[in-house]
Amino acid sequence: MAPPFHHEDIFQLVREPIDLRALIEHVRAPGDGAIVTFDGFVRNQSHNRATLYLDYEAYESMALVKMREIAAQLHEKYGIHRVAIVHRLGHLEIGETSVFIAVSAPHRAAAFDACRFAIDTLKRTVPIWKKEYFEDGAVWADGELPPAPLATPRAKPAS
């Protein structure tokens, strides 16, 4: 029993600046009364070292699968209307948006909760990596190890 409007959700990995306004307009509909957005952008420092720029890469096919799964959970858990999740890849300068999430719902509580859940889950489960460039070198950012199954389920014995 699929919740309605899934086909109107947006999931994208892009290499150009993200058009925030267009995404907000996309999730906005007459039946809604609230949109909550998350705008993640490039900070000018990391652990007190001045950042020059970032470079993002993704396992693109899997990242899109995982972004879709997040949206499905949002519809199921929070009853939201539409969601847009867009992550930028490649070279990003300080202040540029790396990830943008917009969620619409009839009421604000669901929209806030869903948006928070979406960014938290994205950061833990979507296969995207960022490399931080400094004056004196570059490092892959510390990240979170996604939860993975510990063992394959045992095959049922033949009866």
Partner: protein, 105 residues
């Protein structure tokens, strides 16, 4: 397995030389982030013996690039775009990826 047994039987019983048939499994293997830097490439296709697990596949690369072994505890694996357990057995055409901790957002 069956063909191997058959070949052995034919060889012993009838002294027939039957070429051993070892089934191979061709998989695509991907590395990302720091793992890509360690192994020196992002993807390749590999022929494996039958019934190899993701754990054994990782060991193949760790044997080639010993530095990789130290990352074992901070890597998750995926099979066909889904997170997968290390004891997952691979099938022909599978796409396996080794993923370091993710840092999107």
């Amino acid at each position: 397995m069956f063909r191997g047994a058959l070949a052995g039987f034919l060889r012993s019983r009838y002294n027939l030389a039957v070429a051993p048939v070892s089934r191979t499994v061709r998989v695509k293997v991907l590395f990302f982030g720091r793992l890509k830097d360690v192994v020196g490439h992002s993807q390749e296709s590999l022929n494996l013996a039958d019934a190899v697990t993701i754990e054994q596949l990782f060991a193949v690369y760790a044997a080639r690039t010993p530095e990789l072994a130290q990352y074992r505890s901070s890597v998750v694996a995926s099979r066909n775009q889904e997170f997968a357990a290390w004891d997952t057995v691979l099938y022909p055409g599978d796409e396996v990826a080794f993923l370091p901790p993710v840092s999107g957002g």
